[in-house]
């Protein structure tokens, strides 16, 4: 189980994939397996959660790296991109954002447990004023106190994603819409797998290689 603590400031990424005609669970499990067996052993890996939409079409990944430099370093390793090339071949990338601008609202941390349900909402485009307003609104929402919300925005603040364990009540959702407009995407997801960073004793070399097949 992955737990993201509000006190941690990592380089975080949100990746939303449109998987049709594949099943989202298939992509999530494939990416989770590649991460468990290969990616998590790279220096700088701090955790990842893999979610599939309840409708079966969208896969959502939330990944944490120590910092941008650590991610840039591993991206130069051919092993790192092997599974990504396969995923990208099969799906359409709906949204990708990596930044240090993430926050856990309402609780000290948020955990991703297999089978747990999350609601995801993507707001784009945003202005600096609407982003700041939305952030304050989310912090003050009553539901956030009990469920917790993960807030992640792009470095330039042009868009943001909310991941919450419960739905906002109608007035809170309306207030958010008044500030930021309707979400460009929203959906219910379930956690397929989450993979925390390994201890040094758990590290091992990647046991397999991956490549796109010619046919």
């Amino acid at each position: 189980m992955l737990t993201v603590r509000g006190s941690e400031q990592f380089f975080a990424g949100v990746v939303l994939l449109d998987c049709a005609p594949l099943q989202a669970e298939c992509i999530s499990l494939f990416a989770a397996s590649s991460t468990e067996n290969r990616l998590k052993h790279f220096e700088g890996y701090r955790g990842a959660a893999f979610l599939a939409s309840v409708c079966g079409r969208f896969a959502l990944e939330f990944v944490l790296w120590e910092n941008a430099a650590a991610l840039a370093t591993v991206q130069r390793n051919p092993l790192f991109s092997e599974h990504i090339k396969i995923v990208e071949h099969h799906v359409k990338t709906h949204y990708v954002a990596f930044s240090t601008r993430h926050e856990i609202c309402g609780r000290s941390g948020i955990s991703f447990t297999r089978g747990e349900r999350f609601l995801c909402a993507l707001y784009t485009p945003c202005t600096p004023a609407s982003l700041a307003g939305a952030r304050e609104q989310i912090r003050s929402m009553a539901e956030v106190e009990t469920a917790g919300v993960l807030f992640h925005s792009t470095e330039n603040g042009a868009s943001f994603v909310l991941l919450s364990k419960g739905a906002f009540d109608a007035p809170a959702a309306a207030a958010l819409s008044a500030t930021c407009g309707e979400p460009a995407f929203k959906g219910a997801f379930m956690v397929v797998e989450s993979i925390p960073a390994p201890s040094d004793a758990e590290r091992f070399p990647p046991p397999y290689r991956l490549a796109l097949s010619a046919a």
Binding site: P21, L22, Q23, E25, C26, L29, F30, A32, S33, E36, N37, A52, G56, I86, H89, H90, G115, M190, V192, E193, A201, E202, F204, P205, P206, P207, Y208, R209, L210, A211, L212, S213, A215
Partner: protein, 233 residues
Amino acid sequence: MFEDFTRVSVEDSFHTLLILIHTKPIHGRGLLLLNASETESRIKYLDGFVGLSFFVNHSHDTIVEFVQWQTAVHLEAAFRRPQFNEHLPVVESLATAEVGFYAVERVITAKDDRMDMGPAFAGMADFQVFTVPTDHIDALIDRMVHWAETAKASAKSIQAVVVLADRAHGKAAFFIHHDPAPSDSIWYADPEAIEIDRASQMTRYTSVSAPGSAGTSMRYVMSSSSPANAHHP
């Protein structure tokens, strides 16, 4: 999530395999995810695949796979396909595996002679395998069924007991399924049979069933980082 469901019954007498995978704890989660991913993304699309349920113990050093194919011929054909066999050298490089070919002899439940492994049945399972001379297998199965019926009636945690047999090799196996809540293992002992495998307190990780009309296989090539070995079904 997934088509997270397989059905086990005597009537649907599929070609059933029980695979025990033993590995180091640090590789257990990786192998579990690898096998589940391979099944979900490629193997389930092969002709004749019925279902596969994955179980893992608490320390992640033992994985049990309950595998169903329509016939042995389907499995043999699948075995020759890269979508099926590419991941096997990876597994072999990190683990040892024991494979047994069984038939479902009895499914002992509260309702009828079948059980569904899926989201509604996400509990723990105990697993045992016994061996006797082949001409004693029917008597062993009778004793196991009698014991299972008694155990099912007396132990509230037991939801179902599946009795399987490999008659040709004089082997019989138990899958004892418990409630989702943690409970003590319940073991069968038989002075006339030799217990050859035991895996306790397994948690069902997921089940993968044959696809419906929706969905399509992923296309990629996997190669082990270790030298390849020969494989036979």
